[in-house]
């Protein structure tokens, strides 16, 4: 029963991960009209689906980056299985709820924040509540980049700067090269440049992010004794996680797409090409080097960079600042929700506790969905001018945080 709730919640997280991150790949192509909005999200969804199946590597140890509930092989720690794994399942459930709630809230505010950080934050909070301070992997063991500091905090600071520098340089040089070239060459050429680079980002996203959900679900299956193979992931887990992230991507987080594509800076096709290529290169290079980072931070950094690199373009620092603030509080906020959820679930106890946590998640989700109906942003108005337009995300940002 608890296991079923964990699986459903994990897939729900995967779904929010999808629609939260559509913007990373497609916001610039939508803003420059290189692709029609619906075409863009469909393309991104398909590539995420393909990407999720491309990787056969087992991402079973995904939680090891921030918490100590598994050993190095991916098996749950033996002392956590003493009670039939129910504490472990509750930690995972509460952590996922923390991640989902934060994803939905930032979506409502139109803020691109990192889904992986939300998940890690939720897990850290739930682990703090369940196992205490020693259960969290704060700083790694000193042998490699690891822990909350090494896998979450440092990359969050460094990766947007790198992506921004790459995109700024690319944009600047491209504008130098193409000044005076007839529009019929640049428009069509950079349209394809954008589509190609955005597709790469989508594919890389599918391979990286769907893995996390697969790892979490498989961990829950092992903890409850329904799976024992540490080398493989059940096929149904793979299929359902891939479908969930692709469906989420196709739904499209229009509020976030709008912020990233129109809010930060006004993007044209050469800038979009430079921004997405920069993002794709940084994402691929980092995963090659084992440097954990968030697609969101990279994509945002490169969009800001493309605004800085184009002569005469303006970056709306108020919007960028609000996003930076959201990044800062992502980990602690998701952790707080995760901790409270664990505490509630643990106090009520057993299956009933998990049910209460799940119900709270449903209520919070419904509340935020209903809130989003006023001031709707969808594929029809995603590209409206940022200044002057009744911008829903900006209005929503003034509201007090929705009840969690």
């Amino acid at each position: 029963m608890i296991l079923a709730l964990v699986v459903i919640t994990a897939l729900a997280f995967d779904f929010t991960n999808g629609f939260h991150d559509t913007a990373n790949a497609m916001a610039t192509s939508i803003a420059t009209k290189a692709l029609r909005p619906k075409t863009a999200v469909a393309l991104s969804g398909v590539l995420n689906l393909v990407g999720a199946f491309l990787s056969v590597e087992v991402a079973l140890t995904v939680t090891n980056a921030v918490v100590k509930i598994q050993d190095k092989s991916g098996a749950p720690k033996a002392e956590l299985l003493a009670d039939g794994g129910s504490t472990l399942l509750l930690i995972i459930l509460a952590g996922l709820v923390g991640g989902i709630v934060w994803n939905l809230l930032t979506w409502l505010l139109g803020l691109p924040s990192s889904s992986s950080h939300a998940l890690f934050g939720g897990l850290v909070g739930a682990t703090l509540a369940g196992l205490g301070v020693a259960g969290v992997n704060w700083n790694g063991d000193g042998s490699k980049l690891d822990g909350v500091v090494g896998k979450v905090l440092l990359p969050a600071v460094i990766s947007p700067v790198i992506a921004g520098a790459v995109a700024a340089l690319g944009t600047w040089v491209i504008f130098k090269i193409t000044t005076g070239v007839a529009a019929r060459f640049t428009e069509n050429g950079f349209r394809w440049g954008q589509i190609g680079s955005a597709s790469l980002v989508s594919l890389a996203h599918g391979t990286n992010d769907a893995q996390k959900t697969m790892g979490v679900i498989t961990l829950a299956l092992i903890a409850s004794g329904h799976w024992s193979d540490l080398e493989n992931i059940p096929l149904w887990v793979k299929v359902s996680a891939a479908v969930a992230i692709a469906a989420g991507t196709y739904l499209g987080g229009w509020r976030i797409i709008r912020t990233l594509g129109k809010g930060i800076t006004d993007i044209n096709p050469p800038q979009g090409t430079a921004a997405q290529s920069g993002a794709a290169a940084v994402i691929l290079a980092s995963s090659h080097l084992g440097f954990a980072l968030s697609t969101t931070h990279v994509a945002t950094g490169s969009v800001i960079g493309s605004g800085l690199g184009r002569p005469g373009a303006k970056v709306r620092w108020a919007v960028a600042g609000r996003m930076a603030l959201a990044w800062l509080i992502t980990l602690p906020s998701a952790a707080l929700v995760g901790a409270v959820m664990f505490w509630v679930g643990d106090t009520v106890g057993g299956t009933a506790g998990a049910l209460v946590v799940f119900t709270l998640l449903c209520l919070a989700s419904i509340a935020m969905y209903l809130r989003s109906r006023t001031g709707k942003v969808d594929h029809e108005n995603v590209n409206d001018d940022w200044d002057g337009a009744e911008s829903a995300p900006a209005d929503a940002a003034k509201l007090p945080a929705a009840a969690v």
Binding site: G51, L54, S55, V56, E57, N139, G140, K144, L145, D146, G147, V149, G150, L154, P155, I158, S159, I162, A163, A165, V166, A167, L169, G170, V173, I174, I177, T178, G180, V181, A182, R184, F185, T186, G189, F190, G193, G196, S197, L200, L203, A204, T207, P270, T273, A274, S277, G278, A279, A280, A281, V282, L284, A285, S286, S287, H288, L289, G290, F291
Partner: protein, 102 residues
Amino acid sequence: MHNLGFALDGAWQVLIAGLALGAGLPILFALGIRSLAWGAGAASVTSTGVTTATRRPLGTVLGYALFAVVIIGVLLGLTFIVASGFGYKLDFANLYPTLVAK
């Protein structure tokens, strides 16, 4: 703060790779577009007015050659994603990329 050391160590490598591929390839792409336009005789709009279109095959060939380089770069990127997913990695030890098992 050993983590800071590791992070900075990884960061400059990512920066170099990012600049080479993330800025370099789009710049080649832009050069390709400029070559194509030049090849079609439409590259220059001067104060004396638009120069009439004289085709320059060299520009067209150069343009497509540059696009080809960009496409090869993108294919390498794709190969990297797929290969690392199936437990291989791209190795540049022989200058040309080869797939080796991890």
